[in-house]
């Protein structure tokens, strides 16, 4: 629930309490005003229900938007990393391809050189053999022939050495080439995988963008609705304030009409909950799940002003009066279901929301610890009671005056 929704709801509750307080205490002269107030209340309840629905939808839209934005941001971050990785891979592939090309060229050259060298060696061997058979050089010059044979050996050795050197160089280059090819294949596979991941991310990003656009559109629509509702609530608040003033004025007049002695008396002094006879007790056994005051919601990044607490208890549990008092209001309030308001005198009120049934009637006096209502059932076996304490028109933290499990 957003802060705006809470604010509207609080205003409504305040208005409802005022109405609940004023109606039983109203003098016969103010019956027409009370009727007017009832009509106004019914209209307000309808408006609140609409507003609550819109607020819930808006909240949902905001939550979705936030989630979607988060997802889009995450996807964009991943895409950025992906692109950087792909770029690195591309650079690596480019370098590897360059090296591959150079190595292939070197291997081709070496192969050609090797072929030439081998052909040369074969020809030299043939020439040496032919020369040996035919008697190379002048046969009358044995020393010359000896030298020629020696030089042929030198030549063949140099040629064979050249062939061996080229063979070795070619083998080295071929090894390098196969290594590079493996490296390129691995990198290509990686690139393909990363491209696939990138494409998936892109499609997801596209989906998220579509979803975000839908949410944005929904959000704008809801914001517009909310704005209009807030305007209505503001108007309703002013009406409630006006009615409160009218009720106070009528009470003052009624006191004046009842006797001159009472007319001079000042209005009842506001009391504190601690000064209630018998003190206060817990409305039921349960754990406080929503605290009083400003609470920050990390999920939606909003601050909510809670005017009461929410106590989680077993489904169908009885709700008891926190102190002695009188039922000031028992009716339905938009967003809080059935609401019971007990007046403890001296401007002290206790409000019980989200009840399924009332066990008391409006105007009925209740003692401390008396069952006043019942929580609804739920499949999970747990239900939540809304408890709010008001002193002199101001909400106070129930946990500060009542011992509640947190």
């Amino acid at each position: 629930m957003t802060r705006g929704t809470r604010r509207v709801l609080s205003a409504f509750i305040a208005a409802a309490m005022s109405i609940g307080i004023l109606f039983p205490a109203a003098a016969p002269a103010a019956r027409d005003v009370a009727a007017e107030l009832r009509r106004e209340r019914a209209r307000l309840i309808q408006m609140k229900e609409r507003e609550e629905k819109t607020a819930l939808e808006l909240t949902e839209a905001l939550r979705k938007e936030k989630l979607s934005k988060g997802r889009v941001g995450e996807i964009q971050e991943r895409l950025k990393r992906q692109r950087s990785l792909l770029s690195r891979i591309d650079r690596k592939v480019s370098v590897l391809n360059g090296r591959l090309g150079e190595t292939e060229k070197a291997v081709r050259e070496l192969e050609a050189e090797h072929g030439q060298a081998r052909t040369g060696l074969r020809r030299a061997e043939v020439a040496a053999f032919s020369g040996q058979r035919a008697g190379a050089g002048d046969p009358w010059r044995p020393s010359g022939r000896e030298r020629e044979r020696y030089f042929m050996r030198v030549y063949l050795a140099a040629d064979a050495e050249g062939v061996a050197r080229i063979t070795m160089a070619r083998e080295r280059k071929e090894e390098e080439l196969s290594g590079l090819e493996r490296q390129v294949a691995v990198t290509e596979r990686k690139r393909t995988q990363e491209k696939k991941v990138g494409e998936t991310l892109l499609s997801r990003q596209e989906e998220e963008r579509h979803r975000l656009a839908d949410i944005e559109r929904e959000k704008k629509r809801k914001e517009k609705e909310l704005k209009s509702l807030r305007a209505k609530i503001a108007r309703m608040e002013s009406v409630v304030s006006r009615v409160e003033r009218q009720v106070k004025e009528r009470e003052r007049r009624a006191r004046k009409a009842a006797g001159g002695s009472e007319a001079g008396k000042p209005a009842e002094v506001p009391r504190r909950f601690a000064s209630l006879p018998g003190g206060l007790s817990a409305p039921l056994a349960g754990k406080v799940v929503t605290r009083f005051g400003r609470q920050h919601d990390a999920t939606f990044d909003v601050t909510i002003e809670n005017r009461g607490v929410e106590i989680e208890a077993s489904s169908g549990a009885s709700v008891k009066s926190v102190g002695q008092g009188e039922v000031a209001f028992a009716g339905s309030v938009s967003g809080f279901g059935n609401v019971l308001i007990l007046q403890h005198g001296g401007g002290l009120f206790s409000v019980y929301g989200r009840l399924e049934t009332f066990l008391v009637k409006q105007g009925e006096a209740v003692k401390k610890g008396a069952a006043v209502g019942r929580l609804p059932g739920s499949p999970s076996g747990k239900s939540v009671l809304y408890l709010e304490l008001r002193a002199g028109g101001t909400a106070i933290d129930p946990t500060s005056v009542i011992r509640l499990d947190r």
Partner: protein, 296 residues
């Protein structure tokens, strides 16, 4: 008064005609023999031929600079048995190699010229012996610039033996001709002694001793033999000179023409003439004795 007649050239005075024919024949024979003798002396038998074909090759290391290689060649040339020592750079070696093994030229581009330079050392013909060759090769092997010494270690002993045999064969043939000359000469002397037996008997009756007659006849034969041999050798030498000048390739086998006038050649020719003189004298004496024994 009894005057003793001179017995010099008695045969010439008694039988001039036959003696002219014999002298002519011997001169021609000595021309040939002189030609052969001088050829043999100049060529050293087969020595010059072999020496001209034999060479020691000192293959140098590839990194030896040309200047150092040429300096080494000069030092080697100064060795006593060495006739010449010439440095051939790798380019020349490659060209020679290509001449010996045609068709290898296209291969040069693939690997360049792998051949090193070398020094070709030729030995003097008269020093072409195993000991002198070893002297030169051991000197070369001790030089650090030399990679390999090719001196025909496998075939040189056989070559030297063949040269020895051929040289002795030439000398034997020459000796045989000389012996033939001696025999023919003896027969001629005997025949003349028989033909002039009457004249010699007449001289003996007048108191000329037979021994004195034989001595003068032999002395005349020796002197004429010497002169004829010298003249024939000179003529043969001239012919050889002309031949060498006309056919220079013969110099590779026989030797240069200027060696004909070297003192050792002249001395050999003189010695040859002297031997011929002795043989002529001996043949005359033996012919005389043979004729006397037949008459008895």
């Amino acid at each position: 008064m009894s005057e003793r007649p001179s017995l010099w050239w008695i045969d010439w005075r008694l039988s001039r005609g036959p003696l002219v024919r014999e002298a002519t024949g011997r001169f021609l024979f000595f021309c040939l023999l002189g030609f052969a003798l001088l050829s043999l002396i100049l060529s050293g038998g087969a020595g010059r031929f072999i020496a001209d074909r034999y060479a020691i090759t000192a293959v140098l290391r590839t990194e030896v600079p040309q200047a150092e290689a040429e300096g080494l060649a000069r030092k080697v040339a100064a060795l006593p048995p060495v006739r010449s020592a010439a440095y051939r750079d790798p380019e020349v070696a490659w060209k020679e190699f290509l001449r010996a093994y045609p068709g290898m030229e296209p291969l040069r581009g693939a690997g360049g010229n792998p051949l090193p330079g070398y020094i070709e050392i030729r030995i003097r013909p008269e020093r072409l012996t195993g000991a002198d060759v070893r002297l030169v090769t051991s000197a070369l092997r001790s030089v650090s610039h030399v990679e390999q010494v090719l001196a025909g270690d496998e075939w040189l002993p056989r070559l030297l033996r063949a040269e020895h045999i051929v040289s002795w064969a030439f000398r034997g043939i020459f000796g045989a001709f000389l012996a033939g000359f001696f025999l023919v000469c003896r027969l001629q002397e005997r025949a003349r002694a028989v033909a002039l037996a009457g004249d010699f008997a007449f001289l003996a009756e007048r108191g000329v001793p037979a021994g004195r007659l034989a001595f003068f006849r032999a002395a005349g034969a020796a002197v004429s033999g010497f002169l004829l041999a010298a003249a024939g050798t000179a003529a043969g030498g001239g012919a050889l000179f002309l031949s060498l000048r006309t056919f220079p390739f013969l110099e590779n086998v026989i030797g240069p023409s200027y060696e004909l006038i070297l003192p050792r050649t002249v001395a050999a020719a003189a010695l040859f003439s002297l031997v011929v003189a002795l043989l002529s004298g001996a043949a005359s004496l033996l012919g005389w004795m043979a004729a006397r024994s037949r008459r008895k």
